[in-house]
């Protein structure tokens, strides 16, 4: 932030990867030590084992002839995609609540409370309403994340510069124009940012949902193979999830940077 010197990308890259490399080396050393003691150790697989597990689930069909990783990723991806529809609905809802006092009064306290309810603890109730199928998994994500998104957007809409709203009104903007032409275009990159930051919660609820009742999915696999301590598979799946999330995060960041150049200036 204070640096005025030109950045040298070489040392930058080195710094950026330093911790990753350190962790990998430490882990590998630790795993190696454990394997010296117990060659059958499954709890702390070496990187070779993880790579092997990853390759197996990616390139070799399993007992039932499916390519697991692909299958699981597609199943989970679909659930996330569907829940995105509701997430963006939440953005809209938040903007409306921020602008209209009646909606503010009606919904704000409610969502504030609702947001605090740990959804995972009342799953049985969700089952009653949403069944055991795909609906309940998407519902879990939605219930877990959408209130947060709504509240976040609401706060941003509330913090929207009054003067700009007033100016738009003096230029004959209707209320829905204020939402769609003034507020949303400006808070959209912020909303993307907050979706990005909440992606972790989305993954968390996805995994929890899949742990409850599923036949495929990244979370499903992690919980099933836990039954025989296949930490090699679990860790390789977890890294895969981390990597996908990271890429999605970076993708959204890049998109924001390219598409919304005025943002963060």
């Amino acid at each position: 932030m204070l640096s005025v010197t030109k950045r040298s990308s070489w040392t930058d890259t080195l710094l950026s990867i330093f911790l990753f490399v350190l962790i990998i080396i430490l882990y590998q050393y630790f795993a190696h030590q454990r394997h010296l003691l117990n060659p059958h150790d499954k709890l702390v697989p070496t990187f070779a084992q993880m790579l092997d597990a990853f390759t197996r689930s990616t390139f070799e069909p399993d007992r039932n002839g499916v390519y697991r990783l692909l299958d699981d990723t597609l199943a989970s991806g679909q659930r996330v995609l569907i829940s995105m529809v509701f997430v963006f609905g939440g953005v809209l809802m938040g903007a409306y609540m921020g602008l209209f006092p009646v909606m503010d009064k009606l919904f704000y306290k409610f969502f504030l409370f609702f947001d605090k309810i740990p959804a995972l603890a009342i799953l049985p109730i969700l089952f009653i309403f949403f069944g055991l199928g795909e609906v309940s998994k998407v519902a879990l994500i939605v219930i877990g994340v959408v209130p947060t998104i709504i509240l976040d957007t609401y706060l941003r809409a509330k913090a929207f510069p009054q003067e700009q709203v007033i100016k738009a009104i003096t230029m004959s903007a209707s209320k829905s124009q204020i939402i769609f032409k003034i507020i949303l275009p400006k808070i959209f990159p912020m909303a993307l940012d907050s979706i990005r930051l909440n992606f972790k919660a989305i993954v968390l609820f996805l995994i929890s949902g899949e742990a409850l009742a599923a036949t495929a999915g990244l979370g499903y696999r992690i919980f099933v193979v836990r039954r025989y301590m296949a930490m090699d598979i679990i860790i390789s799946y977890v890294i895969w999830i981390g990597l996908l999330s990271y890429l999605i995060d970076a993708g959204i960041c890049l998109w924001i940077k390219k598409q919304y150049r005025w943002y963060n200036k």
Binding site: E163, K167, T170, M171, S172, Q177, Y260, W262
Partner: protein
């Protein structure tokens, strides 16, 4: 002075709360009547409440006592009839200069169908406006900067965008809060010419807050001085209110006339001099529409 009253401020006061939740009065019983087509400039010491008065007329704030009327109807909210240029140029940061100037036209002529069409054929619908938008950009000297975002502009350039943005809508009443504070003398002169021209063409009513007394006397058909300093002060009052005698369009040379310089001196020495005011019991409200009240 002819024309009907377009704006009326009737005994308006405004109170705010300070940090210890105590109320203090900013404007004290302001009475003001403005006729259609007037160009009213408002000067006064910093913090006297000029912006507050403008906000009340705009409708974004309600007086704590009294009324503000436009065309005999109370002003409850901002609306299409009163345009505004804020002291802190508040542009839409997410729009380029061109889009910022165009947005008002888009908002006014909005149709869902047109918007859809426009999503499919970008720029299609907006073509119609482009001549007009470019003309305004030209007038404020920003034609080459049309595709920049506000963060890429200097303070003076932003302010000019805000002016074009408000002017292109040709509102019946235009409220301007120190719009030229950040402009150099040359650019200022250009903007003056531009504003006066449009004002005369459209017959708009303009309320214009400034600190530049020369500007106030040169632009205004009527000058109002607001001040919080007077005997037994409790919120600002109108302490001067008078017409300027030169017919518009005025030549730059009026600035060198003795009467012009005298007016500036009077404002400075009487209107803005707190020592002088603190000894005054009555104010020089020579304007025909000025409302005389015991202070």
């Amino acid at each position: 002075m002819t024309g009907k009253y377009i704006l009326e401020v009737e005994g308006a006061s405004q109170q705010y709360f300070d940090q210890s939740e105590k109320s203090f009065q900013v404007l004290n019983n302001i009475n003001l009547q403005i006729r259609e087509g007037e160009f009213v400039t408002i000067v006064g010491p910093t913090g006297c409440g000029k912006s507050t008065l403008l906000r009340m007329i705009l409708g974004s704030e309600r007086p704590s006592a009294g009324n503000v009327l436009m065309d005999q109807k109370p002003i409850l909210k901002p609306d299409r009839n009163r345009g505004v240029v804020f002291q802190k140029y508040s542009l839409f940061d997410n729009l380029t200069v061109r889009q910022n100037v165009r947005i008002g036209l888009e908002l006014e002529n909005f149709s869902i169908f047109g918007n859809l069409l426009n999503t499919v054929f970008p720029g299609w619908k907006y073509e119609e406006y482009s001549t007009l938008v470019d003309e305004y950009l030209e007038r404020v000297g920003l034609l080459q900067h049309g595709d920049k975002y506000p963060y890429q502009l200097s303070g003076g350039m932003r302010q000019r965008v805000a002016i074009a943005q408000a002017m292109i809508m040709k509102p019946k009443v235009l409220l301007m809060d120190e719009p030229f504070g950040a402009l150099d003398a040359g650019t200022k002169d250009q903007m003056h010419a531009f504003m006066l021209e449009q004002w005369q063409q459209t017959g708009q009513t303009i309320l214009f807050v400034t600190h530049d007394l020369e500007e106030a006397v040169y632009l205004g058909t009527r000058v109002i001085v607001l001040s919080q300093y007077y005997q037994g002060a409790n919120g600002a009052k109108i302490v001067k209110d008078f017409n300027t005698p030169w017919p518009h369009p005025r030549d730059q040379s009026v600035k060198e006339e003795e009467l012009f310089q005298d007016m500036i001196k009077t404002i400075r020495n009487q209107g803005l001099n707190s020592n002088y005011l603190l000894n005054q019991e009555e104010f020089d409200l020579s304007h025909a529409d000025a409302i005389q009240l015991a202070s």
